[in-house]
């Protein structure tokens, strides 16, 4: 018995030494972004899809059958201008309940940031200068004749049109392209979302809300009877989507 005691002590100390080190926790933090969705404060998940139950600002009753969108270029910016851009992008797929949570592989230093930003869609550099096998596999591409690159959002569903017929809509956001003239005219439609000032003390989880109703509301009251399909080549529709998107996202809470 006396001989076993040192072995037990030795084993105990050996096991204890295997614990993970927490030395770095005070200076670097992981950040997670959770994407939640609502229709004017009423929560929306894919279980709410496929039933006409929402009314847009123009008074049209509608359903959602598909919603997926791309966010990229998450950036933490300090008041002195120092920025930390986190690698990666995320294709939020509400239809299939996937990628509703995104944790970039890069960490950031703890501290106060005057701005936390992400891009809705891709900026032009990311949109045209890279090839993304995962996005290609998700048939997320934009045809070259419509400007190339990738979709920013696919929002689809049905609405009751002005002849009381249930009609499909495909509200697809891409970079605006005017093909009507002799030369192609582009206008940027990706936009930055500023979540405001945040102090990061530990690993942090951002709860981000998308109010889907806003896509149809402000500043352009969206008339689905006019703009329901074939919107990708519609320059003005793309610009209007980008304008309406400015108020779609908001930061609910940061948990850390």
């Amino acid at each position: 018995m006396r001989n076993i005691f040192p072995i037990l002590v030795f084993s105990f100390i050996t096991l204890l030494s295997c614990g993970s080190d927490n030395d770095d926790e005070v200076s670097q933090a992981n950040v997670t972004f959770n994407f939640d969705h609502n229709w004017d404060a009423s929560p929306v998940t894919n279980s709410n899809f496929n039933t006409i139950q929402y009314t847009n600002a123009n008074g049209e009753e509608l359903s959602i059958t598909k919603l997926r969108y791309l966010i990229s270029n998450i950036t933490f910016q300090k008041s002195d201008g120092e920025t930390f851009v986190l690698d990666g992008y995320n294709l939020v797929d509400v239809t299939n309940n996937t990628n509703l949570s995104f944790t970039p592989t890069t960490t950031i230093p703890t501290g106060t940031y005057s701005k936390v930003l992400f891009t809705f869609g891709f900026n032009n550099d990311a949109n045209y200068n890279n090839n993304y096998p995962d996005l290609n596999s998700a048939t997320w591409n934009v045809p070259s004749i419509l400007g190339g690159g990738y979709h920013y959002m696919q929002l689809e569903g049905k609405f009751i049109d002005n002849t009381t017929t249930e009609t499909g809509y495909a509200y697809h956001a891409i970079r605006a392209l005017d093909n009507s003239g002799a030369t192609q005219e582009f206008q940027d439609t990706f936009f930055e979302v500023d979540l405001g000032e945040v102090t990061i003390t530990h690993n942090a989880t951002f709860e981000i809300d998308m109010n889907i109703a806003e896509w149809f509301k402000n500043p352009n009251t969206w008339d689905l009877n006019v703009l329901n399909n074939m919107l990708m080549p519609n320059f003005n529709a793309q610009v209007m989507m980008s304008q309406n998107g400015q108020n779609v996202f908001s930061l609910n809470t940061v948990n850390q």
Partner: protein, 354 residues
């Protein structure tokens, strides 16, 4: 002190004894899929189950089983009877007849590039998860091979060649249904089609005609064909999203498709988007083979759409029957679609019964 040294030595040997024991276990010859460079560069890696890696012996066994009528109850029907190589492993008949002369109600699906079906939902209604699981069903379907797996296992076990082939492929001569389907799945994963005229065009090895190019533009134009949302693009060589859609075939459904599997009425009338590769060989078209020609298919999308509660929102101008393509646009779209046909694939001796 001596005791402590003894303890360390003891601990050392205990640790050493934890290492993997080397046993002379039989390992078949690995045969990784040869992924076409264009696939490698543009889409995600194929799905290979960790418990069924590709091997030379497994693929050869799977091929033999695929072409062998021994799987059917009366030894008259092989997988290849309804999945013929010359038809891109589909059936030229609208419905396939089983060993008892009964017919199903779906057109046999073509077989190629199956390892890139990332969601792994197989059949027109997605009812099987994984190729291995899919392969279980035709053998026992009363409308197809109408056999039992017990009988298949017994016949194969008593066969003069098969026990040895299973030994070589899986290290055991004891044959069971799981190993049969694993071998067939390995063979089916090798059925890769990537050498159509359009593939060669993307590699600058072939030149499309003006009609084919115009057809491609119609395919990619949201105001005309708008085919790309479900059938991919020049960046996705699969030419399908492998998802399920109601493409406006019927106002009411006699076959619920995905809806019968999920039980969700919102899925009624939805069927898997087939790849548009190899259309020159895979007539008739649609899940029920209702269209004998590609002209019929294009006319359906152009002016034949039927409205229903679950019709896909991407089916536009439904009230007018569709997007009303001109005769020239229809003809050009057809020439483009046929440029996705891969003659090297259907003539590949590795995929034929020889």
């Amino acid at each position: 002190m001596f005791k402590w040294i003894s303890y360390f030595i003891l601990l050392f040997f205990i640790c050493i004894s934890c290492s993997n024991e080397s046993v002379n276990e039989y390992v078949p010859t690995p045969s990784p899929l040869e992924i076409p460079p264009f696939f490698q560069d543009n889409i995600l890696a194929p799905v290979i189950p960790t418990n069924n890696p590709q091997t030379v012996e497994g693929i050869a066994l799977g091929k033999k089983l695929f072409f062998d009528p021994i799987l059917s109850a009366d030894n008259t029907q092989a997988c290849a009877d309804c999945h013929a190589p010359e038809n891109a492993f589909s059936d030229a008949d609208r419905f396939s007849d089983g060993i008892d002369g009964f017919f199903g109600n779906r057109n046999s699906m073509p077989l190629f590039n199956l390892a890139w079906n990332y969601d792994e939902k197989f059949f027109w209604d997605g009812r099987s998860f994984g190729i291995e699981h899919q392969a279980f069903q035709p053998v026992i379907d009363p409308l197809e091979m109408h056999n039992t797996w017990v009988q298949v296992e017994q016949k194969l076990q008593q066969h003069i060649e098969y026990p040895n082939l299973f030994e070589q492929a899986f290290g055991t001569s004891t044959i069971d249904s799981t190993l049969v389907t694993k071998a067939i799945a390995q063979f089916e994963r090798t059925l890769i089609s990537s050498n159509s005229k359009f593939d060669k065009h993307l590699l600058n090895e072939a030149t499309l005609t003006p009609e084919e190019l115009n057809g491609f533009n119609i395919f990619m134009d949201e105001t005309k064909g708008d085919c790309f949302h479900c059938h991919g693009s020049d960046k996705n060589p699969l030419w399908t999203d492998n998802m399920f859609h109601n493409n406006g075939l019927d106002a009411t459904f006699t076959d619920l498709g995905l809806g019968k599997i999920t039980g969700d009425p919102a899925d009624n009338g939805k069927f898997k988007s087939p790849s548009l590769r190899n259309l020159a060989f895979t007539a008739p078209y649609m899940h029920d083979g209702r269209f004998a020609t590609l002209d019929d298919v294009i006319s359906h999308y152009s002016e034949g759409l039927q409205n229903s509660p679950t019709i896909d929102p991407l089916m536009k101008k439904v009230a007018q029957g569709g997007v009303q393509l001109s005769a020239q646009d229809k003809a050009d779209l057809k020439t483009f679609l046929l440029s996705l046909s891969d003659f090297e694939f259907i003539n590949n001796p590795a995929f034929s019964n020889q």
